[in-house]
């Protein structure tokens, strides 16, 4: 007797999807179906399944499968509707679909990439905003002003002022040539920092050394002294009053005795920070002993890269 409601594919599907205990049920259902054709299949199967207590997923799978099975004559005769109801081409596809749900490795990769990208972007923007806040903390009205206009003499005896620093970033350090241990170390560090920045952004940073000891450090002394550290260093000196004003503008503490007898030796106590100034002459950040040359160069480079204003080439 032909079975119009149970084509070969359907019975195969039923057998392959439902595991063991349901296979018996299916067998029962098949016999039941054979005995009482039409419409009786699903109800019979459902009843027959009950004692087996299958797991949730297999129940769902079998139910789904049975639901896909056309239960009314009008539906299974209509072939277009028939195909629409089968969403999966093969049994294996249906199986994996129900095992993993809507997730696949492609979705996973996409999720991780999108998530990683967003995290990176937010971190990048956060750091940029922090640098911007640091850089702009001294701009505008009502901010503490570090730095300012000055006019001194460079190591060649030529006048050199704050106007000569405009248009480029500058790294300003205060010291004196008779400095016993800290300044030479810091100046060596400054030379390394400068080389690192120069390698990436040539000509955009001017290293400046301002003496706190103008009495002994004349241009010639500065020239000899600085040439041992870096040929590009700009050394500035002036009169005691001029130096005092510059130190005051940069909030640098120093203790040079004012009237020293000729030939008397003394040391100068002074602040030991590098002052990073932007192309407009505004203070950006102070770099101290805690920064390694690499770390300091990175801080400088990050600010240089952030700068959107004009830069002198």
């Amino acid at each position: 007797m032909p079975m119009p409601f149970a084509p070969a594919t359907t019975s195969k599907m039923l057998r392959s999807i439902v595991p063991k205990c349901q296979q018996q049920a299916t067998a029962v259902a098949a016999t039941a179906a054979r005995q009482c054709p039409r419409r009786s299949l699903s109800t019979t199967t459902a009843r027959a399944q009950q004692p087996c207590r299958p797991t949730a997923s297999t129940t769902k799978a079998s139910q789904r499968c049975l639901r896909a099975f056309p239960s009314t004559p009008s539906t299974y005769n209509n072939s277009a509707a028939h195909q629409r109801r089968y969403r999966h081409k093969t049994v294996e596809e249906a199986k994996s679909r129900y095992r993993t749900g809507p997730f696949s490795w492609k979705a996973g990769v996409l999720f991780v990439l999108a998530g990683g990208g967003l995290v990176w972007y937010f971190e990048f923007e956060k750091q940029r905003m922090q640098r911007k806040r640091v850089a702009e903390a001294t701009k505008g009205v009502g901010r503490p002003k570090v730095g300012g206009d000055f006019l001194l003499q460079d190591q060649n005896g030529k006048p050199f002022g704050s106007a000569d620093l405009k248009g480029r970033y500058s790294l300003v350090y205060f010291g004196f040539t008779h400095c016993p241990d800290i300044c030479p170390e810091e100046l060596d560090k400054m030379a390394q920092m400068f080389d690192l920045v120069e390698a990436e952004r040539p000509g955009q940073l001017v290293p400046v050394f301002v003496t706190c000891d103008p009495q002994r450090d004349d241009p010639a002394t500065l020239k000899t002294y600085l040439s041992e550290f870096h040929p590009r260093f700009v050394g500035l000196t002036g009169t005691y009053e001029q130096i005092k004003d510059v130190c005051k503008a940069y909030r640098v503490y120093f203790s040079t005795p004012r009237d020293v007898k000729p030939g008397q030796d003394y040391l100068v106590d002074h602040s030991i920070y590098f002052y990073l100034m932007d192309p407009e002459g505004d203070f950006v950040e102070a770099l101290g002993r805690q920064h390694s040359p690499d770390a300091a160069a990175k801080v400088i480079l990050d600010h240089v890269k952030d700068w959107r204003g004009p830069i002198k080439q």
């Binding site: 000899t224 002294y225 030796d265 040391l267």
Partner: protein, 100 residues
């Protein structure tokens, strides 16, 4: 003796100027000074002296580390010698709380 005398006297003169602080020491002179300082520090460490300027420390340093001290004073500016001797004390006091 002629030219040798001239050279040696120029060198002595320069060292003398450095010691008095008339000229700033250059890189090699700084290095020489720091080496002499470390020798002196090493001697003080050996005799457990921190402050070589006052009290018992001064006595021990004068007795035990006289040659190192002489070399130190020879290679460094006088102001530096005092500075480094004071710095040793300040540095020790700064480190003491953290090292227990």
């Amino acid at each position: 003796m002629g030219i040798f005398d001239y050279f040696s006297s120029a060198e002595t003169k320069r060292a003398d100027e450095v010691r008095k602080g008339a000229v700033a020491p250059d890189r090699s002179e700084r290095k020489k000074c720091w080496e002499a300082r470390d020798q002196f520090y090493g001697c003080l460490d050996k005799h457990n002296v921190i402050d070589s300027l006052n009290g018992d420390g001064k006595k021990t340093a004068e007795k035990e580390c006289a040659p190192e001290n002489k070399q130190f004073e020879q290679d460094c500016a006088a102001a530096w010698v005092t500075y480094f001797k004071k710095f040793r004390v300040a540095d020790y006091q700064k480190r003491r709380p953290s090292s227990g």
